[in-house]
Symmetry: C2
Subunit: 189 residues, 2 copies
DNA sequence: TTCACTTTTTGTCATTTGGCAAATGTTGTC
DNA sequence: GACAACATTTGCCAAATGACAAAAAGTGAA
């Protein structure tokens, strides 16, 4: 759980008692590759911290194509904020790209933490804002780039990720076909 | 200021005294078309509520092209969160697409409000999260769409906006060239 | 190793989009 | 109205990407 605590401490102060409480509320679970953490149509009732492995958030567009919105690797929180915040059915899936170890908080556990730990809400809000800003800043420039630049940008921003995810998922994340991505890779070598 | 107050009330409760305080802290300003509300390189020290007009957030990519990230129309807040939250120099411009009336809060004013009004932080956090989620949800599917679908999606989501912004800005927002957008429009008619 | 299965690469061709320049349309001012 | 300044459309061609199918490479189990 050390990764989780270190992560939280970046966003606010916590004493040992509070840290122990947080640890006691987190539940360790494991997902096998391709297992779902949450599914479209259901209401998200949990938040996950990725301790090991990679998750991805994906959905089906109106052509029935499966689109990967983003990847979540170690030391990041995964939650379908839309669904979790407003308790409405989710429109996307959160799935393990490879075997994962997650630390999971239920809505109840989070409520307890927010009541007991003064700084909790401020920490969570800071984490939420930061991760959303990162998403916007990451996706937004991709629109103005061609496929090759997107791939290169991805390699630069997430060098550790490129080798760990299947080409097909990366292609759908980049908004291009798998064939095109394969050709781009050949082209770059 | 009624628009502002009604907007805030969607996210939390405020009594008359608090409403009056908020009104007293807001400063009305006007921008002429193409004036900047904030500029790249400077630290954002203000938050604006768009009472009338349209702003856009834009930046220059590494090819020197000017890219419009998004538009902000009436009854929305505009702020460079990255710069404002962390007090670091901004990497983007906020510019009036047409003449605007804004209600502006300085960092000091916001601090006063957060100290005085119990619900303030919670309201601001809710607004922040909601607007960021909206941005992610809006941009993200565009990657998987071709130019024509992006334009059609834009028309569906922002019907009132399409006629109010120059084609060149809309094209850069959609990540396509102005010529292509012009052809797409002809094609659709 | 061999087999079955999955993933990635490649070939071929059609379609989309970009780049550039010229033409056309629009707007505001005198 | 005439003009200048700006915005939009169009033509032409090249480049990028998609669609589809087949080949090649990689993976794991018996």
């Amino acid at each position: 759980m050390e990764n989780l605590i270190n992560y939280l401490l970046q966003f606010g102060q916590l004493n040992q008692q509070q840290i122990d409480l947080i640890k006691s509320k987190a539940k360790e679970i494991e997902l096998k590759k391709e297992d779902y953490f949450s599914e479209a149509g259901k209401i998200a009732r949990q938040v996950a911290f990725v301790d090991d492995g990679i998750l991805r958030v994906c959905y089906y567009n109106n052509k029935g194509e499966e689109i990967t919105r983003y990847f979540i690797d170690e030391n990041n929180f995964a939650v379908d904020l839309n669904s979790f915040s407003y308790q409405i059915p989710s429109s996307e899936y959160v799935q393990a790209v490879k075997d994962c170890k997650l630390l999971v908080f239920s809505a109840d556990a989070l409520k307890d933490l927010s009541v007991t730990i003064v700084a909790w809400n401020s920490i969570i809000n800071a984490i939420t804002a930061k991760s959303l800003i990162e998403k916007v800043n990451r996706i937004s420039p991709m629109l103005a780039e061609d496929a090759k630049s997107r791939y290169i940008s991805f390699l630069e921003k997430f060098p550790q990720l490129a080798n760990r995810i299947p080409l097909s998922l990366l292609a759908s994340y980049l908004g291009i076909t798998q064939s095109s991505l394969s050709r781009i890779r050949k082209n770059i070598r």
